[in-house]
Amino acid sequence: MCLGIPAQIVRIDDAERMLATAEVGGVRRQVNIICIVDDEHPPEACVGDWVLLHVGFAMSRIDAAEAAETLRLLAELGELQEAGGA
């Protein structure tokens, strides 16, 4: 029920109605972007954004730096274990 899927905004369809086209695993569908838009991030700035899509709504912009940081930490765990002979 609460499942979400990463998608990329590829086009703004109607900025006033907050409608955009997103690509989800190679498939395109219309999504609502009202939850990822604010004064500092207007609709036109959303093209190219990776978002978390839930029942037709982009609910969060995925933070690339945070994703990279999580993966870096996990890679480091493995390296530390190897160095420690684990």
Partner: protein, 369 residues
């Protein structure tokens, strides 16, 4: 797929497995450590990827109540079917609600008997149907925790803006905090820490969980849904236990901001108000755990537009969902598991959807055995 495949990496999972074993060993020989994943999405991921088998025997996962389809009580399903059977109504629903049993069958059976019930991917699809069929009443079966709540609220706001009069919602949305509180207050509680819901937190942020750490001294780690996310979150909970900490941590920072999503929270606040109590399948009534529409939006409330029977129907007595939900029993220890209660003919809440602990256990654990 980006942001998916890299969080399923086998080597990193192996590294996490070793860290989990090490930190568990450092906690020393105590009774088994019980960690509850609150969200049904996590339950599904745990079974799909066999994550429990990667944990030491000392660590037990308890599969919590966070599947809104599963916990929907019989009486509400009956009310929904009563609405769907009205000749003017097109009832729209997410697919996973179709098989939830009411006292006279499920939506799927009502559809087979001629009710106009259609599955939709989004509440906006339901609103589009209302635009296409101005001569019919289109009702959306609104279900889910805070993740799904904003989409329903925003769709109602769009219907209001566009003056669409033949659209309404049968609102069964529920909220996470009173639910976790009810679990924490239960006398037979044995949970040592929580893996917290990722997408609910994307909406509400991490602050609403602080009472779990401060008042109940239990750690909670907000988690993503890929295998590495869940393993890392379990590791983070165990580290807190090992170090004697009880804090709210966020493993899923790529999606969850500490303040949540402001636009979604505004939509929720504008459209809904708390119900004094809401009935749950398997858990009974929980105070302030559900929401209804504010008076200003009463015309979009299907419960007020159509009289519903509103009969409260007790859970089947044989079911032990409540004990399984609280970690007192494993799914297969329930007296009707796999016999009277199966995914094809579910009796209890947890057998209903693939996110329910018993259905997941039946499907994956039975296969592995």
């Amino acid at each position: 797929m980006k942001y998916v495949d890299e969080f399923r990496d086998r080597d990193k999972a192996g590294a996490l497995r070793r860290e989990i074993a090490a930190v568990t060993a450092s906690i020393g020989p105590v009774r088994p450590i019980q960690i509850m994943e609150v969200c049904g999405g996590h339950t599904h991921a745990i079974f799909r990827y066999g994550l429990e088998a990667m944990l030491p025997d000392m660590v037990e996962l308890v599969h919590g109540p966070g599947c809104p389809v599963c916990v929907l009580p019989t009486g509400r399903v009956d009310d929904c079917i009563a609405i769907a059977e009205r000749p003017e109504v097109i009832l729209t629903t997410f697919g996973d609600a179709m098989r939830v049993p009411g006292s006279r069958g499920s939506l799927l059976q009502a559809k087979a008997n001629g009710a106009d019930i259609r599955m939709v991917y989004s509440p906006t699809d339901a609103l589009a149907l209302a635009r296409q069929h101005p001569d019919r009443e289109v009702v959306f079966f609104g279900l889910g925790f805070e993740t799904t709540m904003p989409s329903t609220a925003l769709t109602v706001l769009e219907a209001e803006r566009d003056g669409i009069g033949n659209f309404s919602v049968f609102c069964n949305h529920i909220t996470i905090v009173p639910t976790i509180k009810a679990i924490l207050e239960s006398p037979d509680l044995r949970i040592d820490g929580f893996v917290g819901p990722g997408h609910v937190s994307m909406v509400i942020g991490t602050a609403p969980y602080q009472f779990i750490a401060r008042q109940y001294r239990k750690p909670l780690v907000v988690s993503g849904f890929e295998p590495l996310d869940v393993l890392q979150s379990v590791w983070m909970v165990l580290r807190q236990i090992a170090e004697g900490r009880a804090e709210i941590e966020n493993q899923y920072a790529r999606v969850v901001a500490s303040g949540g999503n402001a636009a979604a929270q505004r939509a929720i606040g504008r459209v809904y108000e708390p119900r004094e109590f809401f009935e749950w399948r398997g858990l009974g009534s929980i105070d302030y755990s559900g929401v209804r529409f504010r008076d200003a939006y009463s015309r979009f409330d299907a419960e007020r537009r159509f009289a519903v029977p509103g009969v409260r129907i007790a859970d089947p007595q044989a079911c032990q969902c409540g004990e399984v939900l609280k970690g007192a029993l494993k799914p297969h220890q329930c007296r009707v598991f796999g016999t009277a209660c199966t995914p094809e003919t579910p009796m209890g809440a947890l057998m209903v959807s693939s996110e329910g602990a018993c259905a997941a256990y039946y499907r994956y654990a039975a296969k592995a055995a």
